[in-house]
Symmetry: D3
Subunit: 330 residues, 6 copies
């Protein structure tokens, strides 16, 4: 259940209307990396976590709820950046939108130029936010990643927070309004804070690599295929140990020959690692059993109940105080 508090989490203010920046800001309202995406993504991930991982569930819902608060801040800012449009549109008979604004040469041109920036602010939403990105593309459920596995979901979140942070960084360069800048800086900073919360949570799950349960086939884990011509550029991603705990990269400079010689890789040798197919199989069985037990043991049945209310048949409805009473005693 949710509650709404009328005050914003941050004291968003706007110095003067700016329809163009309102348009850019839509990127964080109804865009692929915006606040709604973040709120819904963590909310969705929380369903699978609720029973087996109540601590992470609490974290996911805390952050999801904060993102809803941020969505509200962004929407409020957009509305204030558009203030005036709605009132003008209401005076439809006088068409003040045309007449009022036309007090100097070029004014009409300027007005139309403003209108055309985001036609839907003027012709559809009447000066309030649209659920679109900065180019009018409607928000889509495809923005949201929730895959029923915390080692994967949290990594999705680290990436989401990174993109959201960068978009605020870009946006900050397109407004001069100090009050809008304050709001954006607050919102940008929270993406950094959330990033670190997720990073901390991922650390607390061990092992967390590879994501999920299954280990890789050691014949293919440490191989780098040089799929492009030109100078063979070497770096920590194809030379030395890189991010591996042990072993080292095996560089295949001519993948085409290698593929042919290994019968389409089916006869590729294990190289670069001390793991064997036997060792990874054992790990697969052990970790699979552990994670499976964690999850399965948390399922309730007969019936499966989400919250911890008393049995529904317990009390007669007579024992419930009348509403007016409850209102008084609050």
């Amino acid at each position: 259940m949710f509650y709404h508090v009328k005050e914003l989490q941050f004291d968003a203010r706007v110095s003067s209307p700016d329809p163009r920046f309102a348009t850019l800001l839509l990127e964080q309202f109804g865009g692929a990396n915006g606040e709604l995406k973040a709120a819904i993504q963590y909310f969705l991930q929380a369903f699978a976590a609720r029973k087996p991982y109540p601590a992470q569930y609490d974290m996911l819902m805390d952050i999801a709820t904060e993102e809803l608060a941020h969505l509200e801040i962004v929407g409020a800012t957009i509305t204030m950046l558009l203030d005036g449009i709605n009132g003008e549109l209401k005076d439809a008979a006088e068409q003040t939108l045309m007449t009022e604004f036309l007090k100097g040469p070029g004014k009409k041109e300027e007005l139309l130029q403003q209108a055309i920036v985001n036609p839907q602010f003027f012709a559809l939403s009447g000066g309030s936010p649209t659920l679109t990105n900065s180019q009018g593309v409607p928000w889509s459920g495809t923005y949201v990643d929730a895959n029923g596995d915390l080692t994967v979901d949290i990594r999705s979140n680290l990436a989401s927070e990174s993109r959201a942070k960068l978009v605020y960084e870009y946006l900050l360069q397109f407004t001069d309004d100090p009050q809008v800048k304050d709001t954006l800086t607050f919102l940008m900073t929270r993406e950094i804070a959330h990033y670190q919360m997720f990073a901390s949570a991922l650390d607390s799950i061990q092992p967390n690599f590879p994501p999920g349960v299954l280990q890789g086939d050691p014949r293919y884990t440490h191989t780098y295929f040089n799929m492009s011509d030109g100078g063979d550029i070497r770096g920590p991603w194809n030379q030395g140990r890189g991010a591996w705990e042990s072993g080292e990269w095996v560089y295949v400079s001519n993948p085409r020959d290698y593929v042919e010689q290994t019968d389409g890789l089916t006869n590729a040798p294990v190289e670069g690692t001390t793991e064997t197919r036997e060792s990874t199989d054992a790990m697969n069985r052990q970790l699979g059993q552990q994670r499976s037990t964690e999850v399965k043991s948390a399922i309730q049945s007969d019936p499966n109940q989400w919250s911890k209310f008393a049995d529904g048949s317990r009390s007669s409805s007579a024992s419930v105080p009348h509403v007016e009473e409850r209102v008084k005693s609050k």
Copy 2:
């Protein structure tokens, strides 16, 4: 700002897993008439209402917030209808999904049949809700209508609640689980309650017809064009007064001739109503001015502030009690 309460608004329970009904139920989670759509729609509409119409703003946010609670109930129910899948998937090495379930003839077939109902429950979300409708189409921002005018927005909501109610009515016929039925009945009933809240709110705005501000051109308001052949069927929608306060329908049985004779309707006479172009123009001016004033007078400036916090520069940060203190004194 929002708060999350861990208990659901309704004590959702499930007797036993049922992936197929979980699929149908997605229609109310990530579908065009589902709970997310309702929550976001009212939330969006509230931005334009906040300043000029605080009472309606309060109502919109109350209902939006309740719809979020309903979204959570639907998601919890879907998760419980899928319970077991996630745990099995984790045991990836043993592939118990294959082996455990294959204890009798036809079992594997049945399992695959279940899986294929909604492949993404098994291969993507790992047994948690997806942000899609029952056929896998991602939720879309196009589901949401918010047009910056209460006489229009509330009508959009009456229609939304009607559709959501009907979908619950349909869904109720596809489950035998009494506990799921209880939950669906609760949710269906709330759509009816919300409908009446919106109907009451629309009544409280006068005049509310036509939606928006401008009156229709009296030459075209009362005309019914018979655009199809076959018997001319007459009903209250093209005969008599219908839903009009005054006047009556004018039935054009042969639109093609009528269009030609009136020079493409430009010379169509005013018929069926006592309104004139002068009377409607007067109304346009009067109502436009009134509504415009209501909205414009509510805009704050220098700066425009959404919430009622004290001036940000008032207190030095030193005056804020340290966090630990506040936690204690809670």
Copy 3:
């Protein structure tokens, strides 16, 4: 079957090209509340109505067909607002688009500015309408609501007409061309007329509330949950009788406590209404049977035939007059 008449329903004219207003006007061509949406929505709803409700079927098809005519008017207006582009583009070798227009300082800038308003008018459609809204988002089947129930479908239509009307009202403020204004006023007015047709048709179905067949659970129909903090604002939507025929709103000022005390609402009392679960069950059975019979009795079988042609096997093809004859005798 449809026929096309080359004349428009309204004598649409344009004083001079205006690519920017053409862009705004796309909102009514390929937008979510535009004419195509309306035409297809009513057309879709008509399928379920055809057999059991032939009078309403006639109305739905009349209005759907008129909306197609309006789509044509909007498309024609957009084309005229873009006239000149297509011809210039054809002169590709001379690139007159660049050279012709560049007769004064700043002309090139202006041209590019125009082009960028809606790049697809210039680089894709060559000066004819695109099936998108004003921001280039392609028309989507999600805009259309048809749910197989007239008490719901007609309410969807009331909302659609309201939004379409408002968008025309907004658009009227962005053009000075008196002839375009005439066309928009005609189209806006027809949305009002259609609204009243639908309102009249809804009245003629009794009972029509709640939408669909099932009544609400009386424990939850009259309750208002105050889901947000701050001053508890009371209005006809949560106080008194509101839009209900009888009974009155029950205001739960602290939903969280109420939910806990009623075991997740499962033990909530019936309040605010004299209905009981027994009375609503009886109504459900009675109305369900009535509506079901209406629909089922209209289905034809062995075979199920849509139109009323004679039995296909009746006449030999020899008896059909040769085409040339028919053309002559027309």
Copy 4:
């Protein structure tokens, strides 16, 4: 303007309900190659053709209108294939959908299996067509191609008709109902007929290759780049004259070396053709001027009027006969 005729163009009939085939058939209702796509595509293309090419405009509107009639036939067939569902759903209290159908063992399973085929027929549209393809994806404006050039648009139509024909060919293999087969065969055949209409129309425009106005750069028109390894396979598409009127294919067996030797093709020689850059430039100028003139000369102005109604200011509205009169005199 359009008119609707209640009879279908073809006497569509159905022997017995078949929800699964109804699902497949959606591919031709709301799918990418379906009847709505065709109708809207030709309708859209007609706008640019109306003034300069009235004969082709007539053809485009004739076929567009026939496709609308076909859309109606497909929708009617789907509705008949689903007959019974809507009536059962209305009996919501009795839940006959569950009880009636459960007369033998396995019946409930079968019902659910049917329901899950296309959940939206049962839980959303209540037994009428949805504006989606066979997998529930909403119809999209992206299906429609209209580019303001008949030599291109007609080619788009040849492809559209080909795909639509093939889909009917596939669908015919999934029903045994002879009456449904008759309908599908009729519809499939009309795609062939339309194909030939478009092919005939394309022939009547000369020159029609290359599509549009500009000729290709002769350095690059006749070159085939062998971009894949393995045996160099030669065929009429990279050897000999192929479909060219004159010249022959130039086969570059090693594009990588060729690109380097020609400085990124900027120094590629003219080969395989007798055209020169001068000859193609001349053709560009001549054809561009011709086509541009055709189009520009057809634009009307002051004002630009779509239909040929008399001047709107001519007659006073008094001279228009009263509606009742016109109805009588019809």
Copy 5:
């Protein structure tokens, strides 16, 4: 398997940045008729062709791969047209985007005007291409047509190449940069070359009309329905032999009467052609058997293997030379 070559197929260069033209050019990067669409479409069609039609498979993959190279050229050009943006954005603290550019009056306005052209270049992608069309609509899988039949697929490709060619023709008129023009001319020309490759390939398949296997019902192949009023315009598409090999068009001037007289066309006579239902049935059987055999005989089984590698169990992994060796011997 693919290889990447760092050099572009064409020496793409840009004289100076031009964000507006970069926006227009997106139409060929992530638009419906762009290079990605072409690459993926031919790649998709190749799967069904690989085994039964290896020559056409080779052609499809050659052209698909060239289109990938073109996608890279377009992306590189867009990036160069935006050069400077990314570097400025990095200097986030100095906000040089605001300060550097503001050296004269009107400069800030101009900057914002540039930014708003395509907000995502500035606020999302940081100066690199987005996978959208010129109006920000994300690339969609619906752009791609692959139907498992070469007589249909190749026709889809003829249309695709035609549209892509025309869009380049339009785009050429919106840039003055001679180096960008060179690149566009190269790309436009290749669409013409590909068109002729496909046309040549289609000719090489006989019969290729009607597309697919089934012939049309001779009662409906040669009929033209005059679905619109006004002067009956005759042309090669409804008069004479048109594009048919034999027979002639049958013109039905009054479809409504004709439909009624033929009992919904079920009793329509065969006219305009010497084909009979018997002759087309025979052709259906013969061609169906031939094509079916071609395809079925190419399927391998036990197991079905895509490439021609040796049996995977042949060689022990010991026989594969160590990677370092292979690298040396390259």
Copy 6:
């Protein structure tokens, strides 16, 4: 430029057709976490990296190209899982799809059940892959993240690889075919290898946190807001140092009060960190300048050329050897 090699990177084989698993496998072909998404994402990111970061560009293109090879493997596997369908469909006259398969009781039912799993395999693509996910949703450009910043882009890739790996892990549980399992295991393992390449590359960029350039506002970086009721759960994400290099989490147990006391956070103190606004400002300036310089210094101009071809005007076309010669000398 790309080259295609006819052999697959991995020797994909299939024991026997399995349309249902083909459907599930679409998730990795045209799904949100599939191979096309990966290929295009890295390809897109490479544009911004090409000039300033050639080493990372090389890595991005190597991996992008390998993902294209994987896309081909997945498509080949789907095609083999569907082998037989295309051949049967071609025999359209005999309708062997119906007759051949109907050799025993229940066979027709089974066939239809198979068909309905993924209607488009049968009625649209004719047995080849569709560019959709497992539920028929078309691939979308929204799946792709490329933001012009390596510290962000690489994090997006870590998340993408994680999800792709998990989906393969899930899919492995739905097939018994050992050869398909081999292919899936190879593909899954490569996601792990790519993950480590990206992790290694991210490590090689210092500093890489926070993503982008700007530091957070120290008043908000270390604060955790407890936005939900119930037991306050503490973990490394809201207690102690967590993933921070220094400082510690500040836990705000009652955000509502805290927000009010700090005037909407505008007066929140710096807590939990030793950073100050001055220290972060300094870092912003320094890092911004460094990164900006790296990028800007790599831009070429006059003209800006992507590849390193010689000046296009250098050699006359005469000096280029004739194609036939080049072919010989290869």
